[in-house]
Structures are given as structure tokens and as C-alpha cells.
């Protein structure tokens, strides 16, 4: 019971963070499925969503700020695709990836300029930021909501992909880009829709994520972005359920490692702390390398064959 009390807070925040990573990871995995592009700028879109919320909430009530923030983030995602990726559609994949890195650099520098590099306090959203107690461990309500909201959004998304026209078009494009084009699918529209959905989920994710953290800085997007990408690879890139499962696994593992010193001491394995929390970020990437080496297509990934 004592052990349970030690582990529970870490497990709870792990599930919560996992859900937030999942929302970002879907953006990565959908874009990769269609364009075969690691959208390095996605993590920064997530950060910009946080900043937009900070600035909007200062000048208008929350019930206006939240929808407007989501709309602006979606617009940003759409514009990035049109401006930075669309002109390179026939270029080698490496050029597009470099362009994505360039966009990420630009967004970070822009955020640095606008905020002056200062930590911007994220607004407190009533109800979801309220403190609650779960099995005796204090937390915020957002921790509990995140996994449910994530799963609900994913179910809607999967339904959208399997049962609507645009979903069918997306599946066709991700299967074979050129053939889909020949069948009269408007590739550019499908790609835009993908970016819109990805940015929408990133905006929702940022709201949940930053509610748990003190504030937003220009580099806030980097780490969550990379981890969400790892989650997408871990689950098998291109697969939405895979990304979600991967994100939850990574979120939970990462938070357990943050508390591993304390947990191991509670169990009695360790006498003194080993400072293992340093490795909570590194663990994600070690996991990535291991997964890539043993199962490069991830947990639920499709098999690809190379054509000469």
C-alpha cells in the first residue's frame, strides 16, 4: 500500500503526459503517413499554440480565447504547409526535411523575439485546473481528463478516416501518392486537411499540457515534440492507434523514471539516490534506438518493401 502511494502520483502524471504526447504524435504520424516527412516544426506549432493562448487570454474572456487560439493554430499549420512544404513537393525528401528544420528555427526565433525570452505564465483555465485528490494523491483535474479526452478525439478521428470521403482520400494518398493523384484525388487539399487536423490536435494538446506546467518559453515545444515523434515511431509511424499506444507507454515510463529513485528507495532496493531522474528524457531516445534496431517498423507499423 505504501508502494502504491509512492508510485501513484508518477503513474497519474505519466498517463496525463502520455495523452498529451498522443495528441501531438497523431500530427506527426499522419503527416508522415502521407508526405513521408518528419515535420520537425510540429513541436514548435504546439509551443506557438501555447503562446497564442497566453496573449489572447490577456485581452479576452476564455470562452472566446480558446476557440480563437485553436483557429489560429490551425491557420498556422495550414500556412506552414502551403509556404514551406508545398513548393518542395517534387524535391528530394531531404530538402523537405531541411525546410521543416528551417521552419522550426524560424518559429523558435520568432517566439524568442516576441516574448523576449521570458517565461510567459499560462492562464489558469477554470474547472480543468482545479485541484482534486485521486486515491489520496493530490493532482489537477486536467490529469484525469486528458486520457479520456485523448481517447475520445482519437475515436472521432479514426471514424473520420474510415467513414468519410476525405478520410478515404487520405488513406488512398498514404497508400500511393501518384496513383491517388491519377484517380482524381486533389492531393493538395488532402495534405492541407492533414495539417489542419494535426494542428487542431496540437492546439488541444497544448492547452492540456501547459495547464500542468508553470509557463511557456520558446523552447517549450522542442522536447515534447521530439518525444511525441518518438512515440509515433515507437507505435509504427503512419498508424494512429500505434501513435497513441506509443505515447502512453513513453509518458508513463518517463514519469516512472523521474520518480525511480524514490520508488526504489521505498521498495528498499536502493539505499541512496542514484539521480536517475536525469535520464527521464534520455530514456525515451534510448528506447527509440532499441525499437528501431529490432523492429524498425514499430509496434503496429506497416511493412515496406524497397523497390530498386
Amino acid at each position: 500500500m505504501d508502494l502504491m502511494n509512492t508510485v501513484l502520483p508518477y503513474l497519474l502524471s505519466g498517463i496525463s503526459v502520455g495523452g498529451q504526447y498522443a495528441l501531438i504524435a497523431i500530427g506527426y504520424t499522419m503527416v508522415y503517413g502521407i508526405l513521408r516527412l518528419i515535420n520537425f516544426a510540429h513541436g514548435d506549432v504546439f509551443m506557438v499554440a501555447g503562446l497564442i493562448m497566453v496573449y489572447l487570454s490577456a485581452s479576452m474572456p476564455l470562452y472566446l480565447a480558446v476557440p480563437l487560439m485553436i483557429a489560429l493554430t490551425v491557420l498556422l499549420g495550414f500556412l506552414i504547409e502551403r509556404a514551406a512544404y508545398k513548393p518542395l513537393r517534387t524535391a528530394p525528401r531531404m530538402s523537405v526535411m531541411i525546410s521543416a528544420i528551417g521552419v522550426s528555427y524560424l518559429l523558435q526565433n520568432l517566439a524568442l523575439y516576441i516574448t523576449g525570452g521570458l517565461n510567459k505564465n499560462y492562464p489558469t483555465i477554470p474547472w480543468i485546473s482545479d485541484p482534486i485528490t485521486v486515491f489520496g494523491s493530490p493532482t489537477k483535474r486536467v490529469t484525469l481528463i486528458t486520457p479520456f479526452l485523448t481517447v475520445a478525439l482519437v475515436i472521432v478521428l479514426v471514424w473520420l478516416i474510415n467513414h468519410t470521403r476525405v478520410g478515404m482520400a487520405m488513406r488512398a494518398v498514404s497508400r500511393d501518392f501518384e496513383t491517388a493523384q491519377l484517380m482524381g484525388i486533389r492531393i493538395n487539399n488532402v495534405i492541407s486537411v492533414t495539417f489542419v487536423i494535426g494542428s487542431f490536435l496540437a492546439a488541444v494538446g497544448s492547452m492540456l499540457y501547459f495547464s500542468n506546467y508553470p509557463g511557456v518559453v520558446p523552447t517549450s515545444g522542442g522536447m515534447p515534440g521530439l518525444k511525441a515523434f518518438v512515440a509515433a515511431v515507437f507505435g509504427g509511424i503512419g498508424s494512429i492507434p500505434g501513435a497513441v499506444v506509443g505515447a502512453f507507454i513513453i509518458g508513463i515510463c518517463e514519469n516512472i523514471i523521474k520518480g525511480l529513485d524514490i520508488i526504489l528507495q521505498a521498495v528498499g532496493v536502493l539505499k541512496e539516490p542514484l539521480e536517475l531522474a536525469t535520464f527521464s528524457d534520455a530514456f525515451t531516445f534510448a528506447l527509440l534506438i532499441i525499437v528501431l534496431v529490432f523492429k524498425p517498423t514499430g509496434l503496429f507499423g506497416e511493412k515496406t518493401t524497397d523497390k530498386v
Binding site: 514551406a84 524535391a91 528544420i101 528551417g102 526565433n109 520568432l110 523575439y113 521530439l226 542514484l274
Partner: protein, 382 residues
């Protein structure tokens, strides 16, 4: 044909020697208080970044392995160099919270035995050790990781760099790496001076430029060798290269290790220039910056990478400074030109290059190619 090539080689050699001589002269002429002293700073930092960019180009541009682990290898190099050159009298001050485990300083030990030559030899040895440490790690990580294809390789190496950073910051390794505290007080570039009779010649800028020049020259020799041609063959078509009898796995790991060696050396150079080695400086943003330098100069061009790195450093540290301090090109607008605006303008320029001038400044040509073309045109004109 052979004679023209020899001629080109001779000319390039003379030009490089002239450049090095010019750097020494500049070092003496320009005072630290001078407005032109930024030029020296740019040369110091730019030459190290040029080496880093060229070593990344060797891997990304010449072998076609898109790796983003450069910051990790540079970190290993910087730390190895720093640890091996901290003099014993200041070691306990640097490692204030830990009991230093490695109590060896190459320049000091050799300097005591052989005088100034020994000190210099010690520094060179420490730099080589920095490269070798990075190579060893690259070899270990390369065995599994190099089986991955393009973007998977990129993300795995990016992840590797993050793991390295975490390991170096781990408190339990404090006796070796000083935990998350910086390493300092080791041999820096401004420690180098030449005493000739009564006059002292400062070598502050010459040392990093020389280091970069020697290493880049070695990379040029490698690229022009049969190995270099094999690398290019792998880049252009793996399957065809294998069919022609090139051992893919061996050449890939060789390219990865050599690139990491020079990344390690550039890390050591970075530590020498900055006078500080701290793991938190070697973030993935650094890898991205080096990648952008390579792109700016042209992927697959060594002289392009050098030009790209110099322009990148000069623009971000010197020419665009005014954008941050309120006054640029005579326009005075403190409201817009405030802190950080420089980087915004700069990243917009880079995006324009990436989108509209995809080949960068040089494409895949080298500097001598430009003159050759002109000479041929002139000959045709006659």
C-alpha cells in the same frame, strides 16, 4: 591534364598559406578594443564551425547518410579535450562539488618533461584524443544505427545526441564530467603566444584557423581518394554501388566514424574558443544550425560548407548585430529592432535559401571549379 591539376593544387596550397599568414598579421594589427575585433571573433568561431560543417557534409552530403547526431559527438570531443587539459592546480576549483577522478593533464605532464614543445604536443594529443573518443562512441553506436534508412537514421542519431547529453550531466559521473557544472580553466586559444626575442606574437586567431585548415585539408584528401569516390557512389545509388563491389556496411561505418572524429575535434576547438565546456550548450539546436550552414553553402561542397559557416557566423554575430540594438543601416527603430530581431531576420533569410536556392551558394561545386569554368569559357572565346 595532370600538369593542370598539379598547378591547381600548388595554387590552392599557396592561397591557404597566404590566408594563414594574413590571419597572423590580422591578429597583431587588430586590437581587442577595435571595432574590427569582431572580425577576429568571427574568424575564430567561424573556422571551428566550418570544420563542424565540413565533417557533417562528409556524412550528409558525400555519403548520403542523413545523421543529426553531430552535437553529441562535439560534446564528447569538447569534454575529452577539457578534462585532459585542465592544469592540476586549478582542478579542485573546477570540480568544486566532486573529487576529480582523472588527474592527468597532457600539456602539463609533457610540458614538465619537454618544455614549451611538450606543452604544445600535449594540446595536440588532447585534441586527437577528443577525436578518438568521439570515433569510438560513433563506432559503437554506428553498428546498430547505420542499418536504418534516411529519416529513421536522422531521428535515431538525434536521439543518441540527447542520450549523450544526459549521460554527461549525470551527477554520478560528476568526478569525471563535473555533472551539470561547466568545465573551465583549461588551455584556451588565447593561451597561445609565440615569444620571439622581445616581441610577443599572439596566436589567438591563428590556432583555431590552423586547426580547422589542417582537418579540412585531410577531409579534402579523403574525399578525393578512392574511399571518397565510394562514398559518393553509395550516396548516388546504394544498390548500384553494392553491385560494383563496394562493401556498404564497411564504407558507411567508416564515413560515420571519420565524420565523428572531426566532429569531436571541432568540439575540442569549440571548447578552446569559448573557454568553457558545458553539456547544456550542445543541444539539438546546435546540430540544426550546423545543418543549415551546410545547406547554405551547398550540400556536397566542402568549400561551400566553409563559406556557409563563415557567412552564418558573421551574419548572426556581427553584421546583423544592429538589428538587435535599435540601429541598422542608419535606420533607427528601437521599437522593432530589439533583442532577438536579428535571429528572426536571419531565419527568414535561411528559409528563403532553403526554398528558392535549394542548391545553396556553391551547389556541389568547389571553389577551383569556378575558376576552371571561367578559364574554359575564355579559351572557347578565343
Amino acid at each position: 591534364m595532370i600538369t593542370t591539376r598539379k598547378k591547381t593544387n600548388l595554387i590552392s596550397l599557396l592561397l591557404v598559406a597566404a590566408m594563414l599568414a594574413l590571419v597572423i598579421v590580422l591578429d597583431q594589427v587588430i586590437q581587442p578594443t577595435d571595432s574590427m575585433s569582431m572580425l577576429l571573433k568571427v574568424l575564430q568561431k567561424g573556422s571551428i564551425y566550418a570544420l563542424a560543417a565540413v565533417s557533417m557534409n562528409l556524412l550528409n552530403g558525400f555519403t548520403g547518410l542523413f545523421s543529426l547526431g553531430h552535437a553529441g559527438f562535439m560534446l564528447i570531443g569538447a569534454y575529452t579535450y577539457a578534462i585532459l587539459t585542465i592544469p592540476s592546480e586549478v582542478r579542485d576549483v573546477v570540480y568544486q562539488y566532486y573529487d576529480a577522478a582523472i588527474r592527468l593533464s597532457f600539456p602539463e605532464t609533457l610540458g614538465n618533461a619537454m618544455g614549451p614543445v611538450g606543452t604544445l604536443l600535449g594540446v595536440v594529443l588532447a585534441i586527437v584524443a577528443a577525436g578518438l573518443a568521439a570515433t569510438l562512441v560513433a563506432w559503437l553506436i554506428g553498428l546498430p544505427v547505420l542499418r536504418l534508412k534516411s529519416d529513421y537514421l536522422a531521428i535515431a542519431t538525434l536521439g543518441f545526441a540527447e542520450v549523450v547529453r544526459a549521460v554527461f550531466q549525470w551527477g554520478k559521473l560528476g568526478p569525471v564530467t563535473n555533472g551539470s557544472n561547466p568545465l573551465k580553466s583549461f588551455v584556451r586559444i588565447n593561451s597561445f603566444q609565440l615569444k620571439l626575442g622581445g616581441t610577443t606574437i599572439s596566436l589567438t586567431t591563428f590556432v583555431p584557423v590552423l586547426l580547422a585548415t589542417v582537418c579540412i585539408a585531410l577531409i579534402v584528401l579523403l574525399v578525393n581518394s578512392t574511399y571518397g569516390r565510394s562514398f559518393k557512389a553509395i550516396r548516388d545509388d546504394e544498390v548500384a554501388a553494392e553491385a560494383m563491389g563496394i562493401n556498404l556496411a564497411r564504407h558507411k561505418i567508416m564515413s560515420f566514424c571519420i565524420s565523428s572524429f572531426f566532429a569531436g575535434v571541432s568540439g575540442a576547438g569549440m571548447a578552446m574558443v569559448l573557454g568553457i565546456a558545458q553539456a547544456s550548450n550542445f543541444k539539438s539546436a546546435m546540430t540544426y544550425e550546423i545543418l543549415l550552414m551546410v545547406v547554405l553553402g551547398g550540400i556536397g561542397s566542402i568549400s561551400g560548407s566553409c563559406i556557409g559557416a563563415m557567412l552564418f557566423i558573421a551574419a548572426s554575430e556581427w553584421w546583423l548585430r544592429g538589428l538587435d540594438s535599435g540601429n541598422f543601416l542608419g535606420i533607427n527603430a528601437p521599437g522593432i529592432f530589439r533583442n532577438g530581431f536579428r535571429l528572426v531576420v536571419f531565419s527568414v533569410i535561411i528559409m528563403i535559401v532553403v526554398l528558392f536556392f535549394r542548391k545553396g551558394i556553391m551547389g556541389d561545386r568547389e571553389l577551383p571549379d569556378l575558376f576552371k569554368k571561367r578559364a574554359r569559357k575564355e579559351a572557347a572565346g578565343k
